[in-house]
């Protein structure tokens, strides 16, 4: 697999280092990994790894106008989480945590694991194709984006979404806060996710 050039465990550490050490309050970080679909002979970005940090303060989030999911929606999310938990820990496993509210951003992060983007399409695909970062700050920027993923993110209470391309993929960050473009963060991504050097793995 394309991932062989770097170690997946260090990928997780890099994502954590990136947002745990940041001054801004990022909710999650995802590495979309570049691969080639041999059958379609096309490059695409698939799930490499992700780190969900969570929101600073749930109460603060609800004040911002993010409407909580309906009871039916919550039940659906809990059911999916229960099934995923069984898949990971075995059918006999019990976990009280799966019966707790699944927040909008948790759900968005989980759904992201099922997604992939052809090069040039979607927010991560565009960033990778053009080799330019995409930085959407503010709910109106997300809601007005041509990319469905950005609009979906806004619907789940995210206010900033960033995609920064690297050699082997794209680093995506999301936040429930409005965070304006930071050169420091982009430099950190370039240092942490430059996998051109195989020794980094």
């Amino acid at each position: 697999p394309a991932a062989a050039a770097f170690n997946q465990e260090t990928l997780q550490q890099r994502l954590q280092t990136l947002i745990d050490g940041a001054q801004e309050s990022w909710t999650y970080a995802i590495f979309w990994q570049s691969s080639v679909d041999d059958f379609a002979a096309q490059a695409f970005l698939g799930w490499g790894d992700g780190y969900y940090k969570g929101e600073e303060d749930k109460a603060k989030r609800s004040k911002k106008g993010s409407s909580p999911a309906s009871i039916a929606e919550q039940e659906h999310r809990k059911k999916v989480l229960r099934e995923l938990n069984s898949l990971i820990s075995g059918p006999a496993s019990t976990d009280d945590a799966v019966d707790e509210e699944v927040t909008d951003t948790e759900w968005f992060f989980l759904v992201s694991m099922t997604q992939s983007f052809m090069t040039g399409s979607g927010l991560p695909g565009q960033a990778f194709y053009t080799s330019n970062p995409v930085w959407l700050a503010g709910p109106e920027r997300l809601a007005g984006s041509v990319c469905e993923r950005a609009r979906q993110a806004q619907g789940f209470g995210l206010q900033t979404m960033v995609c920064i391309p690297s050699a082997n993929g794209v680093v995506e960050l999301g936040s429930t806060e409005v965070i304006f473009q930071s050169t420091d963060l982009m430099n950190k991504v370039r240092v942490l996710f430059n996998f051109n050097n195989p020794d980094l793995g």
Binding site: A3, Q8, Q12, W47, G48, D49, G50, Y51, Y52, G54, L81, L84, N85, L87, I88, S89, D95, D96, A97, V98, E100, E106, F109, L110, M113
Partner: protein, 31 residues
């Protein structure tokens, strides 16, 4: 369908573990 690719499985496992520990920290009753 139970056939979850390895990397997604690992990410999901981490997510569930972190969520569990976060919820234990939040609740005074540990659930």
């Amino acid at each position: 369908d139970g056939d979850l690719p390895l990397q997604r499985r690992k990410s999901l496992q981490r997510f569930l573990e972190k969520r569990r520990s976060r919820l234990v920290m939040v609740s005074p009753y540990g659930s």
